[in-house]
Amino acid sequence: AAAGLCPCRALLGGRRGALRALVRPARGLAAAKETHFGFQTVSEEEKGEKVYQVFENVAKKYDIMNDSMSLGIHRVWKDVLVHKMNPSPGTLLLDVAGGTGDIAFRFINYVRSIRERQLQQKLKHHQNLSWQEIADSYQKEAVKPLGDSQVVVCDINKEMLKVGRQKAQHLGYSEGLSWVVGNAEELPFDDDKFDVYTIAFGIRNVTHIDMALQEAYRVLKPGGRFLCLEFSQVTNPLLSRLYDLYSFQIIPVLGEIIAGDWKSYQYLVESIRRFPPQEEFKAMIEDAGFLKVDYQNLTSGIVAIHSGFKL
């Protein structure tokens, strides 16, 4: 019965909502600054707290929910991000909002395989040396499986970092990995430090996206690269409707069944709708000072990878 009533109420609600939107700015001058939390309106301070709670609640089931909701496709998206990054050994990566470590682990795997190939090439060149000379060369330099590459995983949420550290231990990642608690709007790092800055599925949860972009610009070295993997606007209208149907009907149900948490996943699908579309986000990145900003749509725009350089 409630479902049947809703469309009519929504029509009326639209008009009332518009009136409320006119009234709200006047009220807002006296009250704290407001922002969105999914489809709700909250104060900026509240948003930070609510987002923290969401990720605190979902941390343990985060990975399994990602697999269920995206049918495993999120792994492909993250692989594409790291391939696009194409890091060489010696790269220093900062992965912000990197909680459970998905990007960090892929980075390490990628660099490790490049390094292995490098070492193999070197061996081939050494084939004409004598046994003694080859043995000496081993002692001269340590093998360094990562080749001095490092990744710093920074996240505001301690629970997510905890899950990430446990995962790292479980999967056998130890060197080249650091876990730091930090806020994307105010990073605990010095200027001009990192070669690459990534933020995967994190920036839409930040209260002040422009501040996060400015911080990204600050901590990158000159010549450094900014990469953002985030949900975006679907270009195809038919797919868009299917995607909306799937997002609003299925995903909260999955959240309730698998994680026992409807509201967090309701927030998730709503926050995706609130995030600026590709071109608008590109403009925001340019505003922060990045150059050669571009984006690549994946899966018809369900996600997009934005890239920019500090030059």
């Binding site: 609600g13 939107a21 489809f39 709700q40 309106t41 069944i257 608008e280």
Partner: protein, 266 residues
């Protein structure tokens, strides 16, 4: 079916479709916000209520049933199953309560069984054999608390949400009256009794599928002694939701059993 889930997106999107994208996100957000807020406001009938479309209810019912079987410790899944499948049966239960003087009083006064409202020390001090004493003994022996009951989320009627909440809170008292512990065997027996009493599909499913996880010896005891007794008692007894338990702590369990019509446990 363009119900609750569908009305959230097409409306706001229709308003913003075709408009210039940059700088429009703010207006689009406000319009969406208005429509969604209105919808949340009108459809949220009680605190904790999550409005759901028929499709979502069906998916929840199927998913919660599967998850409850897979992981019996997910009590929240049993609760969700009860809410999503109970829509046909709950009105009957509510009417049964309305037609009974004590049940009608419960519906009006809406008592809740919670540690904050119960005076546990006083109940513990009551003589052995009374409802209050046996109930507290049951809570202590099985290390359970009445506060762990999930509030109703997916029932689309405020009074029916209370009915199912009352059923959940009375469940522990059922254990006490039937003398069944909270192990798998005891729970199955109580489910059989409740299935006969309430007709809730969740109880029927629990009664039917619960025994799957029992070993052969327990199954034998279950089928030969416990289930027949549970069915007979269930049929004979008055509606268990019509008893104002909070006013009967001093009554002995025996006399309460006789009054309701539950036979002595084997």
């Amino acid at each position: 079916h363009p119900g609750a889930g569908g009305s959230r997106s097409p409306g706001p999107r229709a308003l913003s479709a075709g408009a210039v994208r940059p700088r429009h996100a703010g207006r689009r957000a406000a319009a969406e916000d208005g429509a969604a807020e209105e919808q949340e406001g009108c459809c949220q009938l009680y605190p904790g209520h999550i409005p759901t479309s028929p499709l979502q209810k069906a998916l929840l019912a199927a998913g919660s049933a599967a998850m409850a079987l897979y992981d019996p410790y997910r009590h929240d899944m049993v609760a969700v199953l009860g809410e999503t499948t109970g829509c046909l049966v709950l009105p009957n239960l509510r009417d049964k309560m309305k037609h009974d003087p004590e049940g009608y009083r419960i519906l009006r006064e809406r008592p809740r069984i919670r540690l904050s409202t119960l005076d546990v020390n006083r109940l513990r001090g009551l003589p052995d054999g009374t409802l209050g004493r046996e109930y507290t003994r049951f809570l202590e022996d099985n290390k359970v608390s009445p506060d762990t009951r999930m509030p109703a989320k997916f029932v689309d009627d405020e009074e029916l949400a209370y009915v199912i909440q009352r059923y959940r809170e009375v469940h522990d008292l059922m254990h006490t009256l039937l003398g069944m512990p909270t192990n798998m065997l005891g729970e199955v027996v109580v489910k059989w009794f409740e299935a006969i009493q309430t007709g809730l599909p969740m109880c029927v499913l629990g009664a039917a599928f619960g025994p799957v996880r029992l070993n052969a010896r327990k199954l034998r005891v279950l089928t030969t002694e416990l289930i027949p007794w549970a069915i007979q008692s269930g049929r004979n007894a008055n509606c268990i939701l019509n008893i104002y338990y909070e006013r009967r702590w001093e009554q002995t369990v025996e006399s309460l059993r006789e009054e309701i019509g539950i036979f002595s446990p084997p």
